[in-house]
Symmetry: C2
Subunit: 126 residues, 2 copies
DNA sequence: CACGTATATACGTATAAAGGTATATACAGA
DNA sequence: TCTGTATATACCTTTATACGTATATACGTG
């Protein structure tokens, strides 16, 4: 278990992360809201913490968990090259970024270039 | 194996998808570039196709695989609520989108609202 | 200090899936 | 039709991990 993607493969872990979007939560609160056993919650939180997705704070016997951005940001970054596949306005968006931060713009706006080669062939597609 | 996240948990599958960003590829081409056995490539492509990440076209004995947007888009959508955690300029970006496509703007720019509640407690964070 | 609450961890079991090897299927060309 | 190339699939083994149950640790209160 190392890559952020493997961590996110587990539905309960994604649910925990989604819970934490609104605010930090204790183990017990997560347990109740997600209807999972306490050891399961603790174990998933352990995995999430080891992977940097969450951090915890002690409050008497309770532990309050909250989100940390890094690993999810990595996932978001991995997704970047694929974004051009959907929503055409991404192009407008990138154009906007090209203007915002010239540091990131490697070449003119070559970022917006679309996939050129497509050899027309017979269809299977199924 | 169902959710897009489980599919992406496998590093070789992510590598295949990344390969396909530039253009469609045959099984053999993927096999060579990623240095994996032919059956492995075929099996991973099978999984990717069943999950909708790729589609294929027949070209004589070869099969050409190319990306399909939907599942990756889902992942991107899941990520949306977390984006506020990083890059402050996302706010500027969303503001820009608010101006671009009024259709998506549900309310004023309530999209930019930030997480309010945070009860200060003693520190563990480890 | 005994007790209740809150959380973490150890241990065992079952299942899923990744990878290998061998083989099947499909197509093209001599 | 025989042969080579390209891809898919079947079968097997191994490993990882999710979950349950039981127990340990830590803190607060009477």
């Amino acid at each position: 278990m190392e890559s952020a993607f493997e961590i996110l493969a587990e539905p309960n872990r994604r649910a925990i992360l989604s819970l934490l979007v609104s605010s930090e939560q204790s183990v017990g609160e997560i347990e109740r809201q997600l209807q999972m056993s306490q050891p399961m919650v603790s174990k998933h939180l352990r995995v999430l913490r080891d992977a940097g997705f969450v951090e915890s704070t002690v409050d008497a016997q309770r532990r309050l968990y909250r989100l940390r951005p890094e690993p999810l940001r990595e996932v978001d970054d991995w997704l970047a090259p694929f974004r051009r596949l959907w929503s055409a306005h991404v192009d407008a968006l990138e154009l906007y970024l090209d203007r915002m931060e010239p540091s990131t713009a490697t070449e003119g706006s070559s970022r917006t270039r679309r996939n050129p080669n497509r050899k027309g062939k017979k269809g299977e597609a199924k």
